[in-house]
Structures are given as structure tokens and as C-alpha cells.
Symmetry: C2
Subunit: 135 residues, 2 copies
DNA sequence: CTAGTTGCAAAGAGTTTGCATGGCG
DNA sequence: CGCCATGCAAACTCTTTGCAACTAG
């Protein structure tokens, strides 16, 4: 099983080339200009998620899932910050977060998976914009 | 605007009565045994979210949104932990998290909204179960 | 009486699935 | 050549919307 088809290679290449972004199935499909059918994109993404090559994120709008190449080692305690105002996604790498993880594990008996967790809130730029407008 | 109809009151009562759970629109609709149409449930949930009475969560399956009565004051820094194994949802109230919030704001210029953020991972029980089985 | 609310059913968006065709190994 | 992968379209799920009937104030 798992043949190397032209399409599956195109999909993986595309995701690797955009490893810094969260892509929707639609974006991948359109990025490959109809070289690959949408159903195939979904089937490949599912497979890549299963093998751990790609990670799937569900964003708050709940409309579409996002996928990202999982190039970083699992030990990199790396969280995501999603701005609810502008929609931008930030990557957060910080030892403080490792501590958080350990704290929750030690004191609350829960092991957090940073690769699945997204913090929602407001980024600096949007906070400034808001202050300028209203308050 | 905003009439107090029989249906809207039933929905709010039901959500309040289940303030400790995350409910899907479907669960609410079925909990009210067809006393309220599903479209009405969605419309009321949208309104209640808008007024801040209810909070909406998107869970990792990405299938359906969950709603919960927002009885806690906004100042209660209270996060949610969702176990990816058993699906249970835990509430986490801890000063350490307040600190986390402040840390991210101060050092990363990002204001986290705990009411929108869900930590994904594995709960103590499921970790035990996993250890018992495999490792 | 008037405007917001409901219910139904149809429309939408995103994702999955069935089935015949195509292509990797 | 066998079997998995693909493409298309239909099916599915959750949610939203249009419209006529209804009802709170």
C-alpha cells in the first residue's frame, strides 16, 4: 500500500513548501490548479495525518479544517496563537510554555498536546487598532 | 427587539440547567423533545453568543460546535481541557494560568481569551489506561 | 397592530463515499 | 497484472436562509 502517485507527491510538496502556513484543503486544491481532485486532497491529508506527517487544526470559525506540515520535532514545545480579529496565526516557541505543560501535568493530571492546541485571542496589532478606534 | 418567547426561554433554561456541560445544537434540540425547531435553536444560540450569555466552542472533530452557559464572570481565568482519548471536557481554574496569560501578553504581545481557548491532550485516566495497555 | 420569532424546507459549505477508470510497482 | 489511488458526482452533516404564519408587547 501507499503508492507514490504524481498527485500524492504534488500534495506533499505543496504542504512542505508552505510549512509555515496553515492550509485548508481548498487552498491546497487551488494551489495545485486543478491538477488534483479535491477528494484526493482530502484522502491524502487523512493519510498524512495518520502517519503524523501533517497536522490537522480546527479553527474557531468551524468552517474548514487547516493542515500543516509537521516538520518540527515533537519535543519542540511550540504552541499556536490565532488572532480572532485578523485571523492571523502566530507560532509561539517559549520555555515558559514547557513549564505550563509540566504544571498542568503535575498539578492537574492532564497532558497537553501543543500540536493540537491553539490559543485564541487578539494580537498586538489588532489590540492597537481596537484602542485607536473605540477606547 | 428580543421578545421572550416560549421557545427562547426553554432554550436558555436548558442551557442553564446543563451549565456544566458542552452541548451541541442537536443535543439542545433533542433535549427539548421537538418543542423547538432546530433552526430556532441555532438562531437563539447565535443571539445568546452575541450577548455573551453563552459561549461557543469548536472541538477538534470539527463536526459540530458546542455551546455552554457563560455563568462565570469574565475575570475568572478559567480554561478548558479536552481529552482527545475519551472526549471528556475538564475545567481548569488556576492562578498559574493567569500568569500564563500575562506572560504571553507581556512577552509575545498577544492577549489570550480563555473562554475561546481549549487545551487538547490526554487526561490522567486515559494516560493510565494507555500505559496499562501498550507501554 | 407591528415587528421580532418560529417552523419548515431548501440552500450552502465542507467533507466523505461509491464506483469505474487509471497507473504504480 | 493486481491492487491501490484517482476523479467525478452523489451523499452526508452541520448550519444558515427565505418565506409565510405566528405571537409578544
Amino acid at each position: 500500500m501507499n503508492y507514490n502517485t504524481k498527485q500524492s507527491m504534488l500534495i506533499l510538496e505543496y504542504i512542505k513548501a508552505n510549512a509555515d502556513r496553515h492550509l485548508t484543503a481548498d487552498e491546497i486544491s487551488e494551489g495545485l490548479k486543478n491538477l488534483v481532485g479535491k477528494a484526493t486532497v482530502y484522502r491524502n491529508l487523512e493519510r498524512l495525518c495518520g502517519s503524523g506527517t501533517v497536522r490537522k487544526y480546527i479553527l474557531t470559525d468551524g468552517k474548514s479544517a487547516c493542515y500543516q506540515y509537521a516538520d518540527c520535532e515533537p519535543h519542540t514545545r511550540h504552541f499556536h496563537l490565532k488572532c480572532l480579529e485578523c485571523g492571523r496565526l502566530y507560532h509561539l516557541e517559549c520555555e515558559h510554555l514547557t513549564e505550563l505543560d509540566e504544571h498542568i501535568r503535575a498539578n492537574h493530571g492532564f497532558s497537553v498536546d501543543p500540536s493540537r492546541t491553539v490559543f485564541y485571542g487578539t494580537c498586538a496589532e489588532c489590540m492597537k487598532a481596537k484602542e485607536g478606534k473605540a477606547q
